[in-house]
């Protein structure tokens, strides 16, 4: 059974990240790289395991969104962004989530 090694990072203020910027794609990247240990997991994983890891990471971010104080419509919009956008390197977080 595949073990991604992904887990939530403790003591991260999710609400602060969610409301840090109106750019939702940036918020999603922030959550991916700060609220879960995505970067550590991807380093240890084999390249063919990347899709599995990213899919699990999306699910984990969705859960964080669901647990937040956002309205259901905001949660839906954030999830759309989480669903659409690819994963980037941690250094590209502040570029608006777009390819560099």
């Amino acid at each position: 059974m595949f073990e991604s090694g992904l887990k939530y990072v403790e003591d991260v203020n999710i609400e602060a990240i969610l409301f840090s910027t109106p750019k939702k794609a940036v918020v999603i990247n922030e959550l991916r790289h700060k609220a879960i240990n995505y970067d550590e997991a991807i380093v240890l994983a084999k390249s063919y395991d990347y899709p599995l890891i990213t899919a699990e990471a999306r699910e984990m971010v969705d859960k964080l969104i669901d647990q937040s104080s956002l309205t259901k419509y905001e949660k839906y919009i954030f999830k759309l962004h989480n669903k659409k956008w690819s994963f980037y390197k941690k250094s590209a977080i502040n570029t608006g989530g777009r390819d560099v």
């Binding site: 939702k24 309205t71 259901k72 419509y73 905001e74 839906y76 919009i77 759309l80 962004h81 659409k84």
Partner: protein, 384 residues
């Protein structure tokens, strides 16, 4: 009671919650694309929540395409789409349907980052276009009213002009009447003076039809008929000279025959001797006279003398004639407008100036002069 209050409070709380839920709700073009691609029921619900937040009528979500559309009421009452909002990942676009009334082809949504801004912008633009249309219609209506007012003003001015024209004409007629009355008075004064002058120059012709012989014999022979005739015609019998004077106007009605008054032309013919101013009458039918009178004795003696005689102004009967003439003249001199209507001796004429008046008076005086003896005699006898 308490339950009602509780329900009311709960409803208010729910409404507040709903208000908070949609207060900051908005999506950008990219999110619009994403949720339309997602085709999730919550996407439809989200778009409806955005419209609920905006509270702008005539907008709804098309469940099939998940596009926000603006509806319009067709004449049949059927709801149709007038326009719809579409987008790519960078900006919103507007799809205009044929049912849309205003021309929105120029609306640019590039500056609208959120769909709420885009809808508000479109709605404002529609209102602007409709207000502009209303203003344009109002301007046309006012222009039409102004045109109508101007047209009525022109008509009024035209009517006033005609009224003024009529007024001017009336004033002109009035002034002409005034001047005509003055003209008539002037005519009358000058005409009276002129007539007086002319009448004073008139000459009465006295004609003597001389019948020589003893007066008693004449009387006997004519058996009183001569006197009767004398009573009826302007003639005089001078018993001392045995002359019968007959006015020239009645020479054609001379006596001839016993108890007869016949036109002289039937019995007598006269030869005018212009040199001696003597009219000599000869009997055309001597036999007729011979039957009753001794024609031989009287024939050659039936002559008349024309004796021109100038009369003074105060002499009779011309004074009477002059009076008659002036009275008739005064009664018949009627002025109208700028001409004077004159009626003398049943002859009507119009004169526009004093020269015409003089011509008319001269003409009348000429006729009058021809009959001056008759008129004078008539006046004399009628006064008796």
């Amino acid at each position: 009671m308490f339950k009602e209050l509780l329900n009311t409070a709960k409803n208010k709380f729910d409404a507040h919650q709903r208000e908070e839920e949609i207060r900051y709700l908005d999506i950008d073009p990219e999110e619009y694309v994403m949720l339309r691609d997602d085709k999730n029921s919550i996407a439809f619900e989200l778009l409806e929540a955005i419209l609920e937040k905006l509270k702008i009528p005539n907008w709804e979500v098309d469940s099939a395409t998940l596009r926000i559309v603006r509806i319009s009421e067709a004449s049949s009452g059927r709801k149709t789409w007038s326009l719809a909002i579409t987008s790519d990942t960078r900006r919103f676009h507007l799809k205009v349907y044929r049912d849309f009334e205003p021309d929105l082809v120029d609306i640019d949504l590039a500056s609208s980052r959120g769909i709420c801004t885009a809808i508000t912008f479109i709605e404002k633009k529609i209102l602007d276009i409709r207000e502009q249309k209303i203003r344009e219609e109002e301007r046309k209506r006012l222009a039409a009213l102004e045109e109508e007012r101007r047209h009525k003003q022109e008509e009024l001015a035209e009517i006033l002009g005609k009224v003024q024209q009529v007024n001017d004409q009336l004033m002109s007629i009035y002034n002409k009447k005034l001047s005509s009355a003055k003209l008539g008075e002037e005519f009358l004064a000058r005409a009276t003076e002129y007539i007086s002058q002319k009448v004073s120059q008139l000459k009465q012709e006295e004609v003597a039809l001389t019948i020589e012989g003893d007066i008693y014999e004449i009387k006997e022979r004519f058996q009183g008929s001569l006197f009767k005739i004398i009573d009826e015609v302007p003639c005089q019998l001078d018993e001392r000279s045995s002359l019968i004077k007959v006015s020239n106007s009645f020479i054609n009605y001379c006596v001839c025959g016993k108890n007869l008054v016949q036109p002289a032309c039937e019995i007598l013919e006269y030869i005018q001797d212009t040199r001696s101013l003597v009219l000599r009458y000869e009997c055309k039918n001597k036999d007729e006279l011979q039957d009753q009178y001794s024609y031989e004795k009287y024939n050659n003696q039936m002559i008349s003398h024309i004796e021109p005689k100038t009369l003074s102004h105060s002499s009779n009967p011309l004074t009477d004639v002059e009076t008659i003439f002036k009275r008739i003249h005064g009664q018949n001199l009627i002025t109208k407008s700028d001409v004077a209507n004159i009626s003398l001796f049943d002859i009507d004429t119009k004169v526009a100036n004093f020269n015409d008046m003089i011509k008319f008076i001269d003409n009348m005086l000429a006729r009058f002069a021809q009959n001056v003896n008759l008129i004078a005699w008539n006046q004399k006898n009628s006064s008796n």
